[in-house]
Subunit: 249 residues, 2 copies
């Protein structure tokens, strides 16, 4: 009998064209499906479903995915055994047996992302894969004053990419925290029941414009109300973003 | 009149065959000398001297180097301007005017290195470039008991690579600290007046064998006394090592 396996994956998104399978591109889904196919010795495509897509360059500390195992292999085969077929920038950090109807996207009740900005004057090679470099000092307290205005249940149309095709643009943001110091690392944590395409990166880009004193902190409420992408800030670079956790009941 | 410039460099050593120039290899020295040559528009080789070589795969947060500038360009040319010619894995994080006889290697009074071990059960892609992965839990208190035995002025013959050609094998280790937790990150900080070839990595490899309970903490003193490379532990992987600071009077 086929068993459904839930895997937790960590990946360095730098050298991937995002999660989603695309012909001719190196994607995390492509690499994981190929590895699962080899593990199961199946010629047909092995489908791996994720809690959501991550964009090109975006990292994951704990992406949750599901895969069906018609061979009912021991869990260690999925945990340790799959590594033989995975490249060094993707790893399984957990494997458990899931309910037959487990859907990592639909069943997710929330997600936490962290966004890192390196705000020092010099480009930093050891941070280049994990942080957005903004050399101009950011006014962190202004960003901290603006962030709470986005908390709660809202229509986040202003903070969604043009190509976003989610049916509803309503989401609930339960945490938006700006930590760190101007001139050093600034870290933004965003948690909510779900995120629209580019939502975290547009929120970060907008908060950065507040930190650059190009927008008043209180103007962020008006951006929400505008329900128009053009009223928000630029989209922050993908390399700063990491999916840290996906929540399930 | 030619001016001597002191540069502080950060680099991600992953994709370099170490600091030192080698024909047909991508080295940090090669890349920095080529960039300096372009900045100065000189056809002859521009020589860049470092505080010491770093091995293939070893990182630097603050390598100190010196270069002569016959064109007496403004310091900003060295700081910001050189970046135009440097790849993303090397950067100048500081540039100052140096005395004409400044020698980054001979004038250095000490160095600080940090070595990172990822001691969790799973391979971690986001740490793979900066940490040595050791899945078996390390007994950190045993490592902490062993470390102080290496402090002070000693003949470190047991902790030098076979190919090390330093004249004296005597060095003074002023700090050797093991921090962190078994199952998570373990960090080893080593500071001293100078280091022999592979010295930090052999010290780490020996402390790891103490943490694996394959050596008693107190046996480390006997390793020193043996003055024989074979009495020490294995050489820790290069990816965990970062040159953090070079000290000058």
């Amino acid at each position: 009998m086929s068993r459904r396996i839930r895997l937790t994956l960590e990946y360095d998104g730098t050298d991937f064209a995002g999660w989603q399978l695309q012909p001719g591109q190196r994607t995390v889904q492509g690499v994981v499906e190929a590895a699962a196919g080899k593990l199961l010795s199946l010629d047909d495509r092995v489908m791996v479903q994720a809690s959501g897509r991550t964009d090109s360059g975006v990292h994951a500390l704990a992406q949750v995915v599901a895969v069906d195992d018609p061979r009912a292999m021991p869990l260690e085969a999925w945990d340790e055994g799959l590594h033989r077929f995975l490249p060094s920038d993707v790893a399984v950090v957990g494997a458990t047996l899931a309910e037959a109807d487990f859907d990592p996207r639909r069943n997710a009740t929330g997600k936490r992302y962290v966004y890192r900005i390196w705000n020092g004057p010099s480009r930093r090679p050891l941070r280049r894969r994990s942080s957005w470099w903004l050399p101009r000092p950011l006014e962190v307290p202004a960003m901290q004053a603006a962030a709470p205005l986005l908390l709660g249940h809202h229509d986040f149309s202003s903070f969604r990419a043009a190509r976003c095709n989610a049916k509803s643009s309503h989401r609930t943001l339960t945490r938006l925290e700006v930590e760190g110091e101007s001139g050093c690392e600034v870290r933004i944590t965003a948690e909510g029941d779900g995120f629209l395409r580019h939502m975290v990166r547009i929120i970060v880009g907008t908060l950065v414009e507040v930190g650059e004193l190009r927008r008043a902190p209180e103007s962020v409420g008006a951006v929400l109300e505008a329900r128009d992408r053009r009223s928000a800030g630029r989209t922050a670079a993908s390399e700063g973003l990491t999916l840290e956790e996906v929540y399930y009941d």
